[in-house]
Structures are given as structure tokens and as C-alpha cells.
């Protein structure tokens, strides 16, 4: 039997990977994947809590998150594709038009 703690540890690890990915990676697409990773880390934690708690509230939240994330991915990827078409790059260092 896998204990709640183990789930939480995995979830925290996933979240940390995602978080540091967002912080340190330069490719927008990778940053985007890391964002998704953080969402799924949260989903995992929610489901684990829901299971050990015995209620369905956590599962409900996860469904919401997945739906919203799906919509978000559709929009976000479209933006990244459009951005690449226009600038021929998706590196965040080079996307600093507003600064200048």
C-alpha cells in the first residue's frame, strides 16, 4: 500500500521540477510544459488527498483543472506558434520588445 506521504513527495518533486523549469529554462515551449507539470503535480496531490479523505471533492477539482488546462493549452500553443512565425524564435531572452 502506497502511503499518502509518498504521493505527496512525488507530487512535490513534480511541482519543484516544473517550478525550476519555469525559472531557468529559456525555451517558451519548455516553460509551457513545466507549467503543465506543475498543474499535474497539483492534480496528483488533490487526487491523493481525495482518496485518503474518502470524499469526491478533490476529483471534482481535478476535472476542472484538466478542462481549464486543455483550453489553456489550446490558446497557449497557438500563441507560441504565432510567435514563432513572426519572430523565428521562442527564446525568452529575445522576446523583450516591450522593454525597449
Amino acid at each position: 500500500m502506497i502511503s499518502l506521504e509518498q504521493y505527496i513527495v512525488v507530487s512535490s518533486l513534480l511541482f519543484a521540477i516544473g517550478f525550476f523549469g519555469v525559472l531557468f529554462r529559456k525555451n517558451t515551449l519548455v516553460i509551457y510544459m513545466c507549467l503543465e507539470l506543475m498543474l499535474n503535480a497539483a492534480n496528483l496531490a488533490l487526487i491523493a488527498f481525495s482518496r485518503y479523505h474518502g470524499g469526491m471533492g478533490g476529483n471534482l477539482f481535478v476535472f476542472f483543472t484538466i478542462t481549464v488546462a486543455a483550453a489553456e493549452v489550446a490558446v497557449g500553443l497557438a500563441i507560441i506558434v504565432a510567435l514563432f512565425r513572426k519572430r523565428q524564435t521562442v527564446e525568452v531572452e529575445e522576446l523583450n520588445e516591450l522593454k525597449n
Binding site: V22, L23, F24, I31, V92, E93, L95, N96, K99, N100
Partner: protein, 632 residues
């Protein structure tokens, strides 16, 4: 049909005419002059209808309402307004006709006639106004039309300066007038002239209070500005830069008399103290401008100073007569028409006739002499321009008060009779003023009309056409007959009759003797002093210091120039400095500076790097967490 429709029509004709000229016929002088003269004719017809066919009436509609504050727009047609309407409509129509000839070749004829129409609109509104606010609005409008017409000759810097001067000097007077109006409202809660007069007739003790004196004097400020009384008379002679018909209509017959009309309208609230001030301002004005007129060379300037002086007579007449009524025999109840109002309006009416005639006559001369205005360059015009000469002479005889046969004699007699009754010092000053009037007018007449021509323009002068001479003839009839009550139709008589009674009062013989003596002395002295068609001013040689003083107009302009340049300008510079440093520098720029600094500071946070923003985001989260947990 309501009487007010005619009053509205009276305003509509000139307004529509002015609007049509401004928007449709600005380049078409012929059509514009036709419209304007037609409007003047309609005004005359409507005004005559109001005067003869309609009873006195008052009509008010609500105009502005703000809580308990309400202003109404309306007409108050009483005997006083009817007489003034008659003067404005009659003289206005004749001047319009005269202008057809005078402005015939002017390229900007349309603008001129448009200006005349807007003036007629404002002046008629002023005469009919039933409340102080409406009166003030139209009062400013006549000031505006006067400004526009003085500066008619755009190419002349002196005309531009004169129009500016007229406007600014009038503002000074109007400021006082406005304060007076506000005080009236704050004390009595109404602007309506009839209600105010009822308040005052209901409570005689009001006339003892100092605040009412202040109101009277503040309202009088408006008169001082508009009617060219000392010390704000300086604009009126300069206003002669405008076309001569304008001088005749606006700056001799009607607008400048509006100040006297205002006094008569508000006569019920004048206290003894206010009236005393009014009397002496009038008397001083009459004397000072009389002296100034002696040494002027420009025919229009002489007439202008003469106008100022006669306005002084009217103002003094109003003051003296009202003083007589206040201190008087006890038989006086608060009638609308006191002796002062009657004498002032009587003189105003006759003066409108003969002074408009004098100006139109001088316009005829100037037109014929190719815009020569210096009387020492004229001479010998009597033979060349007979109609102008004779009508001018009749008007001149009326102005100097030729006994028994002219209007000016009777109206001046009424004023002198009041002065004799009330104040012997004012009486002697006014008699002396009459001597001056006779003196300077005889001087003008002898130098300009007799002898031989002294300039090319005067040599080639010839009589003008009928359009210009017929108004002269009509006005000359008024100048002679205007002194007799039977000359006036029934509807205009009430006020004239009282004026006439004054002239035939108890001291009739004495006053008439003094008036006649003044006339004779002035005439004879001037006749001896000046040769026919003289080339130079003999007074200048014989009494140099006095002549200089008079020719420099008692240095009023110098004094004002000095005041504006040395005192007002310095104060203005100081204020400007303070404004620049404190207001503009510290407060306005300072606030902007703080905002700017904050902007610079905050901008440095914007590095344009998503990673940095993520750190900020984390920082924000940490802050929220700290706050939520309650560590702080």
C-alpha cells in the same frame, strides 16, 4: 395678440438681419445694406406701434432657474422705455439711411451694416429689459457692438487701439455695475425692476441705509463707464476712430445715453449720498470735457468732448432732480418719473437729435473733404455744402442753447432750473459749462464753414446726395422743435411735459436769463477770438499753458498710461513671478515631478525578462502568504 409679441418682433428684426448678413451676405455689400436698412425701417414701424397703439406693459418668462435662484427674461415698457425706444428707433433708422450714402464705396460695407444691426438688437433689448440681469446682458452686447464698430477700419492701428481701449475702460465700469447687481440680489432677492421699485416704495427707511448707497454707487459705475463720465470718459473721444455714422448712432445718440437711461430706470434706489456723488461727477465731467473741447482740432473730437460734456449735464440733471424730489416739498410720492428723470430724459432726447445731426453733418463734411478731419484745414464749406451747412448750424444752435427757438435751450433750461433750486454751486458750474459749449461750437463753426478753403480736400468739397441730406433735414426739425411739448405725440408726452414744466418753473426768468447770458458770452467771445476760417488756433498763441492743458485732455491719458505702465504692470509682473515660482513651479511642476520620479523608479523594475517577472511573482506570493499567515 399679446403685446409682448411686438417686443419680440422688435428684437427679431435686427437679429435676423445681423444673422443673415453674417452667414449669407458677408461679401455682398449691396444686399447686406438693403437688409439692414429694411430691418431698421421695420424696427421704426414696430417701435411706433408699441409707443402709440399699446398700453404700458410688463412681460416676464422664466429663463434660468437654479433652486431658489431664478432669473427671468422680460420686457418692461413704460413711459421711460417708450421715449427711449422712440429715440433709438428714429435716430437709428436715419443713421442707417445716411450710412447708405456714407459707406457707399467701402469694400467692407456688409460687415458695417451687420454691426449696425447687431447694435440695434442689443440697444433695443437694453431699453426694454425688465430685470437687471437682462439689462446687463444687453448692456454688454452694446459694448461688444461698439467695440466691433470702433475697430471697423481694420487697417488702422489707431482704430484697433481705440476699440480695445473702449472695451477695457468699459469693463472697469461694468465690473462695478455687476457688483451692484449682485448686491441688489443678495439684499432683496430679485432682479426685477418693478419688484425692486415696489420694495423701495413700501419701505422709505431703506433709502437711509449705507448699503443702499453702495448699491446706487456701484450701479452708477456702469453709467460712468458707458456714458463716459469722469474718470472713465477717456474711451469716448478715441471711439471716434470708427465710421462717422457709428459715432452718431452709438457714441452720441443712443449707447452712451444708456448710462443715463440706467440711472433713470433705477432712480428709485438712489440715496441722498449717492445722488450727491452723481451730481458732482456729472458737473465735473461737463466742465472738464467742455474745457478739453476748446483746444481740439479734429472736428469729431470736438463733438465727442461735447457729447461727454452733455452727458455730464444729463447725469447731473438726474442727480439734482432726484435730490429735489427726496428733500422736497413732501408732495412727492414714489412716482416712476421724478423731476430728475424727466430733465435727464428730456435733454437726452433733444441731445440725441442735435448731436446725431452734428455727427452726421460732420460725416457729410468728412465724406466731402476726402476724409479731412482737422477743422483748421477746412474753411469755406458754407457755400460749397449748403444743406449740410444749414442743418449743421441748426443743430449747433440747439446744442449751444440758443434762447427760445431751439430744443437745446429748453432742455438745458430744465436742468439749470433744477440746479438753481437745489445747489447754487452746481448751478454756476453748469452755467459756465454752457458758456464753454457756446464757445467751442462757435469756434468750430466759424473756422470750418466760413472764410476760404485751406486744403485741397475742402476746396473740392461738394454737397452729398439726397440719401445723406434727407436724414440731416429730418433731424434738424427735431433739433429745433424737440423743445416744445406739442411737437411730441401724446404717448411720448408724460416725461417731456414734466421736463418742460421744470423749464417754466418758478425761477423761470432767472434761469433763462443765465442760460441766455451763457449762450451770448460764449458766442461773442469765440466770435471775436477766432477769425473766419482761421488757419491756426489763436488761443494757442495767447494762452499757451491753458491751451496745452486742454489740448492734452487734462493729462488723463498720460496718467492712465503711467498707472498702467508703472504701477499695474509692476504688480502684474510680481504676480506673474509668484505664479511662475509657486503655482507653476512648486505646485504644478512639483506634483508632476513627483509622479515622474515615481515613474522612473518603477520603470527600473521593468526589465523585460520573463524570468525576472517570475521572481517578482514569487515575491508577491511570499508576501501574501506572510500576510495571510499573520507573521506581520
Amino acid at each position: 395678440m399679446g403685446s409682448e409679441l411686438y417686443a419680440y418682433a422688435l428684437l427679431a428684426f435686427p437679429f435676423l438681419s445681423a444673422t443673415a448678413i453674417a452667414f449669407l451676405f458677408r461679401r455682398n455689400g449691396l444686399v447686406a445694406s438693403g437688409i439692414s436698412v429694411a430691418a431698421a425701417a421695420l424696427i421704426l414701424a414696430t417701435a411706433l406701434h408699441i409707443i402709440f397703439r399699446l398700453e404700458n406693459f410688463e412681460f416676464n418668462v422664466h429663463w434660468i432657474e437654479l433652486g431658489s435662484f431664478s432669473v427671468s427674461f422680460g420686457f418692461l415698457i413704460n413711459d421711460l422705455a417708450k421715449l427711449m425706444l422712440f429715440v433709438v428707433a428714429f435716430v437709428g433708422f436715419l443713421v442707417h439711411v445716411f450710412s447708405l450714402g456714407y459707406m457707399k464705396d467701402d469694400p467692407n460695407k456688409a460687415r458695417f451694416f451687420g454691426g449696425l444691426s447687431i447694435f440695434m438688437f442689443s440697444m433695443l433689448g437694453l431699453v426694454m429689459a425688465s430685470s437687471l440681469v437682462t439689462l446687463f446682458v444687453f448692456w454688454e452686447l452694446v459694448g461688444f457692438s461698439s467695440y466691433m464698430l470702433i475697430g471697423f477700419y481694420l487697417g488702422k492701428p489707431s482704430a484697433a487701439a481705440a476699440s480695445k481701449k473702449a472695451f477695457i475702460v468699459n469693463r472697469v465700469g461694468d465690473f462695478g455695475f455687476l457688483i451692484g447687481i449682485i448686491m441688489v440680489f443678495s439684499m432683496f432677492g430679485t432682479f426685477n425692476l418693478t419688484s425692486l421699485s415696489e420694495i423701495f416704495s413700501g419701505d422709505a427707511s431703506l433709502l437711509q441705509t449705507a448699503s443702499v448707497t453702495a448699491i446706487g454707487l456701484f450701479l452708477f459705475c456702469g453709467t460712468v463707464g458707458k456714458s463716459g463720465q469722469l474718470p472713465l470718459h477717456v474711451w469716448l473721444p478715441d471711439a471716434m476712430e470708427g465710421p462717422t455714422p457709428v459715432s452718431a448712432l452709438i457714441h452720441a445718440a443712443t449707447m452712451v445715453a444708456a448710462g443715463v437711461f440706467l440711472l433713470c430706470r433705477t432712480g428709485f434706489l438712489m440715496t441722498v449720498d449717492a445722488l450727491t456723488v452723481i451730481v458732482w461727477v456729472g458737473v465735473l465731467t461737463a466742465l472738464v470735457s467742455g474745457f478739453t473741447a476748446i483746444a481740439q482740432r479734429d472736428i469729431k473730437k470736438i463733438l465727442a468732448y461735447s457729447t461727454v460734456s452733455q452727458l455730464g449735464y444729463m447725469v447731473a440733471a438726474f442727480g439734482l432732480g432726484s435730490l429735489v424730489a427726496l428733500s422736497g416739498s413732501g408732495s412727492h410720492e414714489h412716482a416712476i418719473v421724478t423731476g430728475g428723470v424727466a430733465a435727464a430724459m428730456f435733454h437726452l432726447t433733444t441731445h440725441a437729435f442735435f448731436k446725431a445731426l452734428l455727427f452726421l453733418g460732420s460725416g457729410s463734411i468728412i465724406h466731402a473733404c476726402h476724409h479731412e478731419q482737422d477743422i483748421f484745414k477746412m474753411g469755406g464749406l458754407a457755400k460749397k455744402m449748403p444743406i449740410t451747412f444749414w442743418t449743421f448750424t441748426l443743430a449747433l444752435l440747439a446744442l449751444i442753447g440758443t434762447p427760445f427757438i431751439t430744443a437745446g435751450f429748453y432742455s438745458k433750461d430744465a436742468i439749470l432750473a433744477l440746479a438753481y433750486q437745489q445747489d447754487k454751486v452746481a448751478f454756476s458750474a453748469l452755467v459756465f459749462g454752457a458758456v464753454l459749449t457756446a464757445f467751442y461750437m462757435t469756434r468750430l463753426w466759424k473756422i470750418a464753414f466760413l472764410g476760404s478753403p485751406k486744403s485741397e480736400g475742402a476746396d473740392h468739397a461738394h454737397e452729398n446726395g439726397l440719401v445723406m441730406t434727407i436724414p440731416l433735414i429730418l433731424l434738424s426739425i427735431g433739433s429745433i422743435m424737440g423743445g416744445f411739448v406739442w411737437f411730441y405725440p401724446e404717448a411720448l408726452r408724460p416725461i417731456i411735459l414734466i421736463g418742460e414744466h421744470l423749464a417754466h418753473g418758478e425761477n423761470h426768468t432767472t434761469v433763462a436769463l443765465f442760460g441766455g447770458a451763457a449762450w451770448a458770452i460764449g458766442l461773442v467771445v469765440a466770435w471775436i477770438l477766432y477769425g473766419a476760417g482761421a488757419k491756426e488756433d489763436r488761443l494757442e498763441r495767447t494762452a499757451k499753458p491753458f491751451h496745452t492743458l486742454f489740448a492734452q485732455k487734462f493729462y488723463f491719458d498720460h496718467l492712465y498710461d503711467w498707472y498702467v505702465a508703472k504701477i499695474q504692470q509692476r504688480i502684474a509682473l510680481t504676480l506673474h513671478f509668484i505664479e511662475q515660482i509657486v503655482l507653476s513651479g512648486l505646485i504644478v511642476r512639483g506634483m508632476a515631478g513627483i509622479a515622474g520620479l515615481m515613474g522612473i523608479g518603477l520603470r527600473s523594475l521593468h526589465v523585460g525578462n520573463i524570468h525576472t517577472y517570475v521572481y517578482w511573482f514569487i515575491g508577491g506570493l511570499v508576501l501574501f502568504w506572510v500576510l495571510a499567515v499573520g507573521i506581520f
